[in-house]
Symmetry: C2
Subunit: 121 residues, 2 copies
């Protein structure tokens, strides 16, 4: 199972258009870039190589048609990186969707967890 299956709660993948989706990994890398100003540092926080983090950013930039991330020296240079206004908007929307989802599923989550607990005892 993926590491994302360790933390209890909902994992949300939003398909905005066919083949244009954002999920926990992309959101985390956007947030990491926003907070650290660097793709390398953002990837490192997630236990990801620079190359893998960069490929994820590249995929996002291509999929969303306008870049979500801008690198200060462009290309693959290890320079700084920042979110574009579109990047900020996508991240904000996703985080709000996540927290609204956690509230929306609260009751059923308690129901599922109660069943699992009962069975474990």
């Amino acid at each position: 199972m993926k590491a994302g299956n360790k933390q209890i709660g909902a994992r949300l993948r939003i398909v905005v258009e066919p083949d244009l989706a954002i999920g926990p990994g992309k959101a985390d890398i956007l947030e990491g870039i926003k907070e650290t100003g660097s793709i390398t540092a953002a990837g490192r926080r997630m236990g990801m190589s620079y190359k893998r983090a960069w490929l994820l950013v590249e995929t996002m930039n291509r999929c969303f048609r306008t870049p979500l991330v801008e690198t200060s020296r462009g290309g693959r240079a290890h320079g700084g990186a920042t979110l574009t206004p579109t990047g900020e908007l996508v991240l904000d929307c996703y985080r709000r969707m996540e927290s609204r989802t956690q509230r929306a599923i609260e009751k059923d989550m308690a129901k599922l967890r109660a069943v699992v607990r009962d069975l474990a005892n």
Copy 2:
């Protein structure tokens, strides 16, 4: 990209406990078994081999501690299959979580789609 990324909307993976999760694939196979009374038929609807469908069911039965699916002849026989009360409960909870999530994210979804549309034009 996965086929699940073709249909616009939220994909929900619920981590009930560490390493105990239910997502769109497991929900669809549960629903397929409920509607067809057969693991083979449920898998076929999803373009899945019998073996793959059966392994998915086996994983669920093991992860949820009490089986979610019962086979009428037991084991790998191609006989009938039904949901147990726990299977029904898990499927119901998941479908309700899904529809509540779609409602909860509606506004932000419209926002994301508007950005994407503007950029495409």
